[in-house]
């Protein structure tokens, strides 16, 4: 029997623990976690793109599509089912990312970053002018039902939280398996050297295209959760600063594991909550300063702290340890 993957175990146990702990947590912690969970999914999308060396400044586009998936399905079809809402957003973002992918899969580095940014800004520009998207005010999102089951007002918060947690668990595990698969390993190889990957018989462009679509689905799932939590969707979800936050999350957490964006996201939301409480007008400054400090002193992300701590705690061997290669 193959032994159980520790990441999957942690995700399942964590999700179960959080589900049962919900009634004992204060409301603001529940809300903070919900928003953090929602934001960590598009960040996870950024992470899998970064695995192949591509920086996306446009994940906000799919966040936007996911959020409006829930809002529009309700506004026009009268469906308030959470699963259908997520599916609608995911289908729309597969379509959009499939089309956009043909164009952007050719680009690398700064060009990829800025083209994804430009595309999401075009959508933002359209959305603030279109009645379909409620212009700059956005649309309201109803209280959700789950496969025909509509929780009472008292249970709505709990059921939404449990839903968010398990949606994350499903997407987190799926992404983990995706990254562990042969295709997932290919992504890292693309970052190392594209030409060699092509000599091995793979099409880099197709791989990037598929990866863009996977990242888009993750982004839209996050957007659906965000809209359900905040109870509205507005065009600012597609604004480039929203996308910037997702990259920031990956940056502070590192890209070692699918759980990293979740930790990064919780860290960011906590930081934002406290910064906004203590420095209401200068929280961007605090955010920027923390970001800069992390980039300057922990360029591998906060996750690297664990590695450093582990190295410090590990007993010294008698012989000199080989100096770890520091790739920059």
């Amino acid at each position: 029997m193959r032994h159980l993957d520790p990441t999957i175990l942690v995700v399942v146990l964590g999700a179960a623990a959080l589900s049962f702990a919900q009634p004992h947590m204060p409301g603001w912690v529940v809300y903070l976690l919900q928003i953090a969970i929602a934001a960590s999914l598009p960040a996870l999308g950024c992470m899998i793109l970064l695995r192949s060396g591509l920086l996306s400044f446009g994940q906000g586009l799919y966040y936007f599509i996911g959020a409006y998936g829930v809002a529009l399905v309700h506004a026009h079809l009268g469906i308030s089912d959470a699963f259908l809402g997520i599916l609608a957003g995911a289908a729309a973002s597969i379509l959009v990312a499939g089309l956009v992918g043909f164009f952007i899969a050719r680009y690398r580095g700064i060009f990829f970053a800025m083209l994804t940014l430009a595309i999401s800004m075009v959508v933002y520009g359209m959305a603030v002018k279109m009645d379909l998207f409620g212009r700059s005010d956005g649309l309201n999102v109803p209280r959700l039902s789950y496969l025909g089951f509509t929780p009472s007002r008292a249970w709505a918060q709990t059921s939404l939280f449990v839903f968010c947690v398990w949606v994350w668990a499903v997407f987190g595990i799926a992404t983990h398996l995706y990254l562990r698969s042969r295709f997932g390993k290919l992504l890292t190889a693309i970052e190392d050297n594209e030409t060699r990957v092509e000599y091995l018989g793979w099409s880099v462009r197709h791989a990037v295209h598929i990866n863009t679509i996977v990242a888009a689905v993750l982004g839209s799932a996050g957007g659906a959760l965000a809209a359900a939590s905040a109870r509205y969707a507005d065009p600012s979800l597609a604004y480039w600063t929203t996308s910037g936050e997702f990259v920031f999350i990956v940056l502070i957490a590192g890209q070692a594991n699918v759980l990293a964006p979740l930790f990064g996201s919780v860290f960011l939301e906590t930081l934002r909550t406290y910064a906004a409480a203590f420095f209401p007008d200068e929280w961007q400054l605090v955010l920027g300063a923390v970001m800069l400090a992390i980039i300057l002193f922990l360029p591998k992300g906060l996750g690297h702290l664990f590695a450093l701590a582990g190295r410090a705690l590990r007993p010294r061997r008698a012989t000199a340890a080989p100096i770890e290669e520091d790739r920059t």
Partner: protein
């Protein structure tokens, strides 16, 4: 016929502004190999300093000309100082980091700069329309156009000529070109690469601040003006090819005319004109009009 003239004049005036906004970005990219998101921050600082200087000068009873001179000089000096500090304290530590990380560091700097301007000047809008109104209008064919907007184009042309002259006709400029082509080789030949890089970043910041100062009399200077600018400036610069001065001129003209064309004929599409042009250009020439593709390594 009249419409064509309006589109042409508007387009060129807008192109002049776009060039001013983009030139600092492309210069910094060419030499330092980083896309400076903080450029939008320098633009905002320049606009605020200019609006403040114009107000201060007006309260001392100075005329429109001295007001503008003070505003431009103040913006350039402040922008240059902050640029120097930023390069020496932050960027210099990041040159050997991956470009993604550096891009994000400039984003962090942008957030910081934006809140600093808000802290210094508050959240309310500053208005500095006096100098622009004082210059009145000039007749171009059958149009009457603000003199100030024509002057913007003249400033843009002067900046373009100045940059061209420095890069192609002076010793420093040749050193800069050498650093653009090969950093290590220039260092081996005795070029002080780190000084060139600092200097370029300072000049880039000054140009960003100057662009803001030139714009200040045309707009309500308020928080958030830097955000739009950085995306626009990038579009302009990427169309011409990152790091190419001539490319920035062509990019500004293309975007300026496209935008004027869309504004007057299809007002609803004006927002997309810029991005549509960028997408078309990049679809045909992935590295922009004037940049050479990078060879792939095996």
């Amino acid at each position: 016929m009249n419409l064509a003239l309006i589109i042409l004049v508007d387009g060129i005036s807008y192109a002049g502004w776009l060039f001013l906004v983009g030139i600092g970005l492309t210069l910094v990219f060419g030499v330092l190999r980083l896309v400076n998101i903080a450029h939008g921050g320098f633009y905002a600082i320049g606009a605020y300093v200019a609006a403040y200087a114009i107000g201060a000068a007006a309260s001392y009873g100075l005329g429109a000309g001295p007001q503008l001179l003070l505003a431009f000089a103040g913006a350039v000096v402040v922008g240059g100082l902050i640029g120097f500090l930023v390069e020496r304290t932050v960027l210099v530590r990041l040159y050997d980091h991956p470009e993604v990380l550096v891009l994000f560091a400039t984003y962090a700097l942008f957030l910081i700069l934006e809140d600093v301007t808000k802290l210094v000047w508050g959240g309310a809008s500053l208005y500095a329309f006096q100098p622009r109104n004082a210059f009145g209008t000039v007749a171009i064919g059958s149009l009457s156009y603000p003199v100030y907007d024509v002057a913007t184009v003249v400033i843009a042309v002067l900046v373009a000529l100045g940059t061209w002259f420095v890069l192609n006709r002076t010793r420093t400029g040749r050193c800069v070109t050498a650093v653009v082509h090969d950093r290590e080789m220039s260092a081996a030949m005795g070029v002080n690469v780190s000084a060139i890089m600092t200097g370029t970043f300072v000049v880039g910041s000054m140009l960003g601040a100057l662009a803001g100062a030139v714009t200040a009399p045309k707009i309500a200077v308020s928080p958030g003006i830097g955000v739009e600018v950085i995306v626009l400036a990038f579009a302009v610069v990427v169309i011409g090819g990152l790091g190419s001065i001539g490319g920035a001129v062509v990019g500004a003209l293309v975007v300026g005319l496209a935008r004027a064309f869309a504004t007057h004929l299809f007002p609803d599409l004006a927002v997309f004109a810029v991005y549509a042009v960028m997408a078309v250009v990049l679809a045909i020439r992935p590295y922009g009009l004037f940049a050479r593709p990078v060879a792939r390594k095996i």
